[in-house]
Symmetry: C2
Subunit: 759 residues, 2 copies
Amino acid sequence: MSTPVTLKAVGQRIPLADGLEKVTGKAKFAADVSFPGLLYARPILSPYAHARITSIDKSAALQVPGVVAVITAEDLPVKRPASSRNSAILARDRALFRGQPVAVVLGETEAAAQDGVDAVMIDYDPLPAVVDPVEAMRDDAPSVWPQGLPKGDSMADAHAGAAAEQGEAERQGNIVNTVHFKHGDVEAGFAQADVVIEKTYRTGIVHQAYLEPYAAVVTHDALSGQLTIYTTTQGQFGVRDEVAKLLGLERGKVRVVPMKVGGGFGAKYGVIEPLVAACAVISKRPVKMVLSRTEDFLATTPTPATVFELKTGAKKDGTLTAIQSRVVVDTGAFPFGLHGIIAILLGGYYKFANMDIEGFEVVTNKPAIGAYRAPGSPQATFAIESQMNEMADALGLDPLQFRLQNAVETGDMMPNGQPWPHIGLKLVLEQIAQHPLWTGRTPSANGQKRGVGFAVGGWPGGTSPASAVCRPDSDGMVNIHIGSVDISGSNNAMIAIAAEILGVDPSKIRIIAGDTDSGPYAPPSGGSQITYTVGAAVKRAAEEARKQLLEAAAELFEASVDDMQIQDGQVSVKGVPNKQMSIGQVAGRAMSGRTRTPPILGQGGSSIKDQAPGFAAHLVEVAIDGDTGELTLERDVVIQDVGRAINPLIVEGQIHGGASQSVGYAILEEMRYDEGGQLLSASFMDYAMPLSNNMPDFEVVMVENPTPDGPFGARGIGEPPIIAAPAAIANAVQAATGVRITDLPITAEKLHQALHNGQ
Amino acid sequence: MSTPVTLKAVGQRIPLADGLEKVTGKAKFAADVSFPGLLYARPILSPYAHARITSIDKSAALQVPGVVAVITAEDLPVKRPASSRNSAILARDRALFRGQPVAVVLGETEAAAQDGVDAVMIDYDPLPAVVDPVEAMRDDAPSVWPQGLPKGDSMADAHAGAAAEQGEAERQGNIVNTVHFKHGDVEAGFAQADVVIEKTYRTGIVHQAYLEPYAAVVTHDALSGQLTIYTTTQGQFGVRDEVAKLLGLERGKVRVVPMKVGGGFGAKYGVIEPLVAACAVISKRPVKMVLSRTEDFLATTPTPATVFELKTGAKKDGTLTAIQSRVVVDTGAFPFGLHGIIAILLGGYYKFANMDIEGFEVVTNKPAIGAYRAPGSPQATFAIESQMNEMADALGLDPLQFRLQNAVETGDMMPNGQPWPHIGLKLVLEQIAQHPLWTGRTPSANGQKRGVGFAVGGWPGGTSPASAVCRPDSDGMVNIHIGSVDISGSNNAMIAIAAEILGVDPSKIRIIAGDTDSGPYAPPSGGSQITYTVGAAVKRAAEEARKQLLEAAAELFEASVDDMQIQDGQVSVKGVPNKQMSIGQVAGRAMSGRTRTPPILGQGGSSIKDQAPGFAAHLVEVAIDGDTGELTLERDVVIQDVGRAINPLIVEGQIHGGASQSVGYAILEEMRYDEGGQLLSASFMDYAMPLSNNMPDFEVVMVENPTPDGPFGARGIGEPPIIAAPAAIANAVQAATGVRITDLPITAEKLHQALHNGQ
């Protein structure tokens, strides 16, 4: 297939396909779904961070008018042990974190269900909670899983585990997983170094804080046992597989319909769906559950808090000689496995001749963590990019040149021994070197406390296979069938790609996003992979449809297929421009049997093996009020390697959104727990979401460094912009004030304390 | 693609895929669809067969509590003139038949809407009605369309026509279309004949009388203007196109979701959908309309009554010399165009050296006709097959040998000059010659009035293009995406075809039947074409998926793709049977990126050019009560060329159903109108539906005469069994009693009269 030389649709700034319905409130979200006979489910969340559940008395609740059922772990038709947050549908015997669902009340109305919640009597026997991950690693810390996590695939294993737990024999510690990346000899490396820096960096727990809390509606067909799940999810196929596995159903008996998503950012992978599905199976009625904001804060899966004990060494000439680190990832009550990627990114941006990085995944009595846009990268990047600036300062080197000297390139090894695929880290850094905010920076003077700083970070990106179908209709509209969820405008990329290949206006492309029954297979919308992988499948499906259109047109024009062309939606014989037919007419003739070519239906797939990592830098200017510690982000230039901006408007929008979240991560947001494991910031009254007045006008610099495999060279662009603001702002704060903040978020309180009391 | 030599799935007797949900009442039909804010629509039908509508007073109706709107033709957002039954959404100025919708009332409940119907005041000025089609052809008959049918594509044309109508200038007659097939010299042919028979045959109006009356629910999205139509239809794409055209919408703005169909038989092609869609557009709320049985009888589209003046001649040796006929087709108030195929079939079964057949399509003040299973063929076959028996008797020849002597074969010309495609007419007749009921027949004796007769008839069948998608999932289920509606078990054929190609058990195949957005394009389920054309597309899609599965498996086994095989759902290397992987595992590995082959998704299309006509004979034995004229159908052997019985159980079921309808057509069913155009049989109290006690145990003889293009040789099998019972029974009655009935249905009353008064 030939790629058009001059791009027409790709590169156009086309507004979001579903923008109008979203801003006018017409878009249908999971909470809007209703059915006759619907029951409302209200969860009962554990008030304790750690407690034994000694009894649950449903009787008073069942007397409440309109209450239909009270469901506890004993009632669940589950077939798998609770070895992860998603499989721990309801707490059984023990509650492991404040907010863990313990029971659920089904009512004819939401109010009845809530009244039922208030009438369920649950007796708890509080247990010592472990809240701080570093303390959790101590041998004398309370154990979250004294017998280890339930393993195995059957409930029998789980019951055996629970029985064993009564005896409290063979008590297990809280370090559930480790990773160790080691090469060279770090002692020797540090010995060669002229400067060695050793510091500890900490990041807090941040919530994805999407606009739309978790919501799901599940119907159950009593005859066939078929479940249909309407939910706010980033990936319907994963939810289907998880629910089917947990409830012991064939996958085909579970249909997941992804609704519009009011923000996911990595969190919407199926936390409540197994619970709502179980309620529908038990009640044999449709069931709806919509979490309140506070329930969503308490019961879902935020980012991990992290602690980096980080030591690096370098020679006077700027050569990095060694990195050593102990990385602690607070995974909450269940493992999630982010310690690996965090360790990889920490040691992955720069060439270290000697390396010894140990990562620890530690369980605590807090909510299990989940993914949040470039999960783990803001944390790792905060540590390494803060320290790289400190190192450049200590060496008296320009922090940008120092980084360029050491930065990895395509083919260099990551800590795990895998080579970096095609990357643009240096290209991004080189853009900083040319930017007036960097070249024109001046030292903070006259007590102004203004400073410029930057940091860079990356995300490897996903490569899951995908398929797509392209079906031009007789009215000239081209239907593109995909199975991916549009959480970020990715459908607009599909529109541009198909329009480009087929030579039609983007307004003629219609995306038909399927559910698990109707959709071609696609990965979940995470890992910045949808445009890269589904887009590649759409490109091939459109190419196949184009080929069939040309074949049909060649029949109709009695010409050779090689002489046919499509221009502006019209098919004609090359050199005979006055005789033409629209692609809708050609498709219509194939549908009505006037060609030997069957109805046009192109199929395309992708199975890309190489990741397409995206790197992005934040180049920021901050101003700090010396009296209050208040930080104003004056400017934020986001420089990102986007591969190819399929739709620059949407790419910029993604970068604005990610940058906003990065700024929130840097200076405002944190889920704070007290020492007993109680969440202190479980509403937007307490949790400091960034507002528009916290944001500068972001300036976006798109570097187009095309990937070999992405459609038209595109690479994933969703995750990189969230990564680097915390480190960039910390570096700018240091430039402005001389103070180095090593603990996120960089609040006014911390700055004030640092400025007035020293660190 | 190689066809498996030994068939495993094709030919299996597998019960209907959706049989259980249908017999347990769980299947969802259009009337089961509901939405918040739903309005109920109740139609007001014209009480007159022909009347000028002088005024419609909505005011009292709008005072009825719960009535939301009264909609008349003036309110409709239509963009096309009323030139057909479907485009005549509501009567404008004149009502043309008893039962024509004149207005519709929308209410918050069905009861409120019905109260509104009773309160709408409509003044009619009755006009002379023309009811009998032969009378309608007279110059002095009242004219149904004095100014001719509205033509043109705009409402302006229609308004001009209506204005001109006021003047009653250039009055148009009721013959709206004619056809004339003529070759040779019929006068010379009759001159050569030793016997000439000339008789008139009449058939009445029969209703499709499906179990489920017309029903539709339409939602309207105020923001996008998107309409979604949930309806009982045989073809969603046609309904979409028609509604879009009538309401002036882009096709993409109309989504039609075909629900389960409680019988269609040719009638469910969109009679009420434009009206319900218009109500939704006007009210901007969801609207449901469900016709009562009486409304369905009055307002929908039954078969045409026909009159055949038929003259044939033959020599003593049995050679047919000439056919001459005047065929009158009563099309009701709007043209439908069945006169052509009726004339073709009348003269198409036998070789006539000389032919002169004229067909007339005549409008009357009765409901416009529609399709009913082999539309027109039972009528034409009744005439020609009755007369062929009379001719054989007159010549003293065996009626079977006489037919075999004259029957057409593949390549012989039809009256329209087109050659018959691959047919099995003679094969079917030869089966009669071998059947004991025929070989063992004896003359009616001892006043028993028992007789054996037979007749044969055929249907050309449709060939519309289709496409399909085959998507094996990781759990081993194979999803087949099609756009056709299953009104007859055709999905079971798709299951067998896909299972056969993929080498899996039929229980592993799942049909995903799409709506107009999600479905691959398919023709409507009419013309006995779904297994023939969609089946061919499914076969190719499965072949493509099989190819991809083998490619992926070759990668996983590190073997050549040519050495791979699929047996019993397991993929293995030929000769290495102990190392194998299920197709679900192979599909799962492709989905998870462990192959270069993308997720398996096969696409297939068909665009077959040759029809695959089906011929079927009824060989019957009747017993007649000489006192009452009551006819008992003692035996009915249905002999049919099915090409290949993909699923013999379903094929037999189709033949049983069609044969039952054929028997009803022959001896019971008729919509009777009085001379003023009032329907006398508008309920099942009056309309004589056949019951189980009218039916013999049908004996089915399937002749497998494979077609070149159908999947595994299949040809359409839905229509042929309805064709021949009327003529077969008339022939058996003649054998039993010597009486020849030429007027359908052959009721006890007619038989009694003929037996006691002569004819």
